[in-house]
Amino acid sequence: MPENNKTIEYDALIIGGGIAGGEAALNLANVGYKVLIVEKDLSIGGKMILLSKVFPTLDCSACITTPKVSEIMRHPNITVFTSTQASNIIKKDDGTFEATITKQPRYVIAEDCTGCQLCEQACPVSVDDQFQYNLVGRKAAYIPFSIASPRIAAIDIANCTLCGACERACPTKCIDFTQTVETYSLKAKTVIIATGFQLFDPTLIPRYGYGKFKNVITAMQMERQLAPTRPFNTILRPSDGKMPDNIAYILCTGSRDKTVGNPICSQVCCMYSTKQAQLLMGALPMADITLYYLNIRAFGKGFNEFYAQAQAMGVQFTKGKVAKITEKENGNLLLRYEDINGGGVVKETEHDMVVLSVGILPNQGIAELFSNDELVLDPYNYIGQSDFLASPAQTSIKGVFVAGVASGPMDIPDSILSAGSASSDAANYIRHLNKKTVSV
């Protein structure tokens, strides 16, 4: 085990091991730079690895993410620290950076764990599974999810009762409760922020009843039900485990909505909802699917065609904002909305399951990671782009670049392009630093 407060040195620090951070890392590593990815979660792959299929190609998301993820893990120029965060990032006078890297203990010796899951079977504690968006439970000793990378166990110490069952079950004796927080002093030449996004918390809109009405779920929960590593192997509504046959989507939940403090459009919800509707038509051939929308934003390559395809398949698109949901005794839900296309009147329609197409929001606390220089945010708390026309990845701190959704809502290809842009600028920054050092 590395001793505490060891000094480590890399060309680039990448904060966030999602698809954007990973792509940026690969671009830099492929041209010979040494890269450290710090990922706060137990696995890299970000949100993309948890998705079902991607729009508009309907590629299986796990199948196209895992080759990328294993390429990242395998690359000789890339080091990945999971359960790890960077802080106290200081820009030095010579243009390089220093940071504190804090690695939380996994309580499992990573090198020895084979991912056999015997600890998981032995563990008596059940809690909500955050990687399945709380649809099912998991143990306190657990493998994050079946295609996690690294696919090794971790102990959720907050919920662990220290009963020792996992220790006894582990055939390689890799459970280690003596592990403590490890800190490193990092020197790096450039920093790329690829911290992604969080999903809007729909309990902030009480009139939709999320958390209160069982059959109101979020789109990410539906995404998990449709994924190859899905928890139920079919689509179920939570209240009674029935297969739903009349599903409603409420678009712009938490987006384009000043009352919840997010006036902008989340850019992906129209398409992911349209995609889910198409997948549901396959999974539940008899079900009716209705999307309640304000405007369908099918703007990207192949999107409008994909939207037309959903319409042709029989997905119902109803223009109107849902004002309120009420729950019936049988768990069905009544949606009250203005039917703009159908006479402009207020209507009530019954559905047996409602999916909230929640928007995306920036992750908080990124600016606070920087100690001496100010990392400027935009009015919506995304990382500000100081030259967004010519160098979209450039932030207010020279040498710090932003990739993916950390700079604003975007879909996967746009995240890949933004990561490419960040890596290009970062490579240039390193090269100029190196030149300077040589000339001195």
Partner: protein, 641 residues
């Protein structure tokens, strides 16, 4: 002959195992002679499974592996490198596709799907038994990149690459740089104008000795392959000396008697045959448009910089990679489409030029403009036409134009005839602003577009409006602005030369829409900006820099490793019948003389291993490494047995 083979059958998390009995497949394979291990796994691509395969190779001395999972397009590289890292030659790994070619295709018949999977894997085992260890081919790569198109995307990519120490040929067909963005003034969400952005980028590329800019330059031929492309570039002269006298040139423009429609202003003004599009345009030398010049000689009389003796040249350029950033054309409406042809109906790009040319009063054709009707989705999202796609940039561009117009000429009123506003992401704020300034929004039904008609000299726009419950509304417009979308370049010369495949929307196709958006199936050729699909400036820049990163990674080492799956000639039996030469789509085959005998020669850095030459060979003297006759025959035998 391999006799310790590892076979791994993937469930693909149900994608395969829901239809194929993978356990049975694994059991059947275990019975085959030479198979050491045969197991099933939930996700063969998962890290732990990869580790397992590597361990088997190292610890059990496995000398060949078969992975039966999804399409090799997805995971061939994954398992190749597992093999390589574990010390097994990666050509001793054979992939069997039992998902796309089996479970997905036969989800209606599980027992037969399982039988088919067994056959597929059996054949793969037969092939791996005969597989040979092959070494990659190393070729030198030119550390030079050609960037085609000097719009903002091309210029930015060139600048980035040059900064990374790469020599760049920046090839622009027009005589001036900046592409479509040079035609724009104020840009959305910034204080910078299009011209200023172009100037900023131009100054940087001129400042960098690594960049050579060619204007009036067209790529007319491409030969060679990744690492070593040979381009022929035709340079059309400007007919003006490089060291020119500015005052005299201004006079020359003045005296030129030829007037043609000015494409830069989308035909709303005229220009001379000797011209510059705007005073600060780059390069700062005018050009003579040889198509329209009558050679009357008037300009020569007043200007000593004119030089009609300049000749067309063809340059040969060698480059390691080609970055294509050829941009787009704005859609041109068809006759009568939304009133096109009526004198106060213009396109959005024309309107942007009109605002640019009008100072304190908005006047067009001598008439003051107060009521402006914007018709959205002209040439995009067509119900009947070919363009089914959304042009992405236009909603925001139009709303921004409306805000600009309102700011500049206070008394205008804008009416937006939309099909649902698509101001995605932060651009939503532009929508909000235009709503707040009092713009009026109407929305038409998909199959009932707004109608534009002339009544007693007035232009009326009629709509069945969704937003007011199908009310039929009319707006009398002083000016109708058709919000024309983005189309692929009409000039398809470059795409024919480079042979980049196009999608249904006629934009260039990337390798993978989600994860590899700037690479193409032509190795070494990357695409950036709007030639791949509609984009705004920021998105184009991101794609330009991504393409730069990919092109850079191809050339930066000066060496490339190419796959050894290539055709080889049996010198003994080859009789040079010529057939392979015609069959090869990559010009990889040529005739050489050896020991007084003409035989075929395969250029290993150009050969792609497509196998087209094999079946036409009369003397059966060609073999494809990795797919030798012996391997294929063994596969067939396994299937027949």
């Amino acid at each position: 002959m391999k006799h310790k083979i590892g076979v791994y059958i993937c469930h693909c998390g149900g994608n395969i195992s829901d239809y194929v009995d993978v356990k049975r497949v694994a059991e059947e394979m275990a019975k085959i002679e030479g198979v050491e291990i045969s197991v099933d796994t939930i996700f063969a691509c998962a890290d732990s499974s990869q580790k397992q395969i590597a361990n088997d190779i190292k610890e059990k001395g496995i000398d060949g592996i078969v992975v039966a999972s999804c399409s090799p397009k997805l995971h061939y590289p994954t398992f190749s490198s597992v093999a390589e890292h574990a010390g097994l030659n990666k050509y001793n790994y054979v992939h069997a596709n039992i998902r796309e070619q089996c479970s997905w295709a036969h989800s209606d018949n599980k027992p037969k799907a399982t039988e088919k999977a067994i056959q597929i894997v059996k054949a793969a085992i037969a092939r791996v038994k005969e597989s040979e260890a092959l070494e990659t081919i190393e070729v030198d790569s030119q550390k030079i990149i050609a960037v085609i198109g000097a719009g903002v995307a091309g210029m930015r990519a060139a600048d980035e690459l040059a900064d990374l120490g790469i020599k760049v040929y920046l090839i622009e067909r027009e005589f001036f740089v900046g592409g479509r963005i040079a035609q724009l003034d104020y840009l959305c969400s910034t204080t910078e104008t299009g011209k200023e952005l172009v100037t900023r980028l131009y100054e940087k590329i001129m400042d960098n000795p690594n960049i050579t800019l060619f204007t009036g330059a067209e790529v007319i031929e491409k030969k060679g392959s990744i690492g070593n492309f040979n381009l022929k570039v035709k340079i059309t002269p400007r007919y003006i000396k490089n060291k020119c006298k500015k005052d005299e040139l201004l006079k020359a423009i003045e005296v030129c008697p030829v007037e043609v429609l000015d494409e830069f202003n989308f035909g709303i003004t005229k220009r001379k045959a000797i011209y510059k599009n705007f005073p600060s345009e780059y390069p700062q030398i005018p050009t003579i448009d040889s198509k329209n010049c009558t050679r009357c000689g008037e300009c020569e009389k007043v200007c000593s910089s004119i030089d009609f003796s300049q000749k067309e040249e063809v340059l040969d350029l060698s480059v390691g990679s080609i970055l294509v950033a050829t941009g787009f054309d704005p859609y041109t409406p068809k006759e009568n489409e939304f009133g096109w042809g009526i004198d106060n109906v213009v396109t959005l790009p024309q309107f942007r030029r009109i605002i640019n040319m009008c100072d304190d009063k908005l006047v067009y054709n001598g008439k003051k403009i107060k009521h402006i009707a914007y018709i959205y989705c002209v040439g995009s999202r067509q119900v009947d036409g070919e363009n089914k796609y959304c042009s992405r940039y236009c909603c925001t561009a139009t709303l921004y134009t409306s805000i600009l117009t309102k700011n500049k000429y206070k008394d205008v009123q804008s009416y937006h005839f939309t099909r649902g506003i698509r101001t995605y992401g932060k651009q939503e704020i532009v929508y909000d602003k235009s709503s707040r300034q009092g713009d009026i929004f109407l929305q038409s039904y998909e199959d009932e577009p707004p109608m534009i008609e002339q009544k007693k000299g007035k232009t009326i726009v009629k709509i069945n409006d969704i937003l007011t419950n199908k009310m039929e509304l009319e707006v009398e417009a002083d000016l109708v602005v058709l919000v024309t979308g983005i189309e692929p370049r009409k000039d398809t010369n470059i795409s024919e030369v480079l042979k980049i495949p196009k999608g249904r929307d006629k934009f260039y196709n990337e390798i993978h829409m989600k994860l590899r958006p700037v690479e193409t199936v032509i190795d070494g050729v990357t695409i950036a900006g709007a030639c791949q699909g509609p984009k705004n400036i920021m998105e184009s820049m991101n794609s330009a820099l991504s393409a730069a990163a990919k092109s850079y990674s191809i050339v930066n080492k000066g060496k490339l490793n190419l796959p050894p799956i290539i055709a080889v000639v049996n010198k003994e039996t080859c009789t040079w019948c010529n057939k392979c030469l015609d069959a090869c789509p990559y010009d990889a085959i040529s005739k050489i003389s050896e020991n007084g005998k003409d035989i075929a020669f395969v250029n290993e850095s150009v050969c792609k291993g497509c196998g087209m030459c094999l079946p036409v060979c009369e003397s059966d003297s060609l073999e494809l490494l990795g797919y030798t006759n012996h391997e294929i025959e063994n596969m067939i035998k396994a299937l027949v047995d």
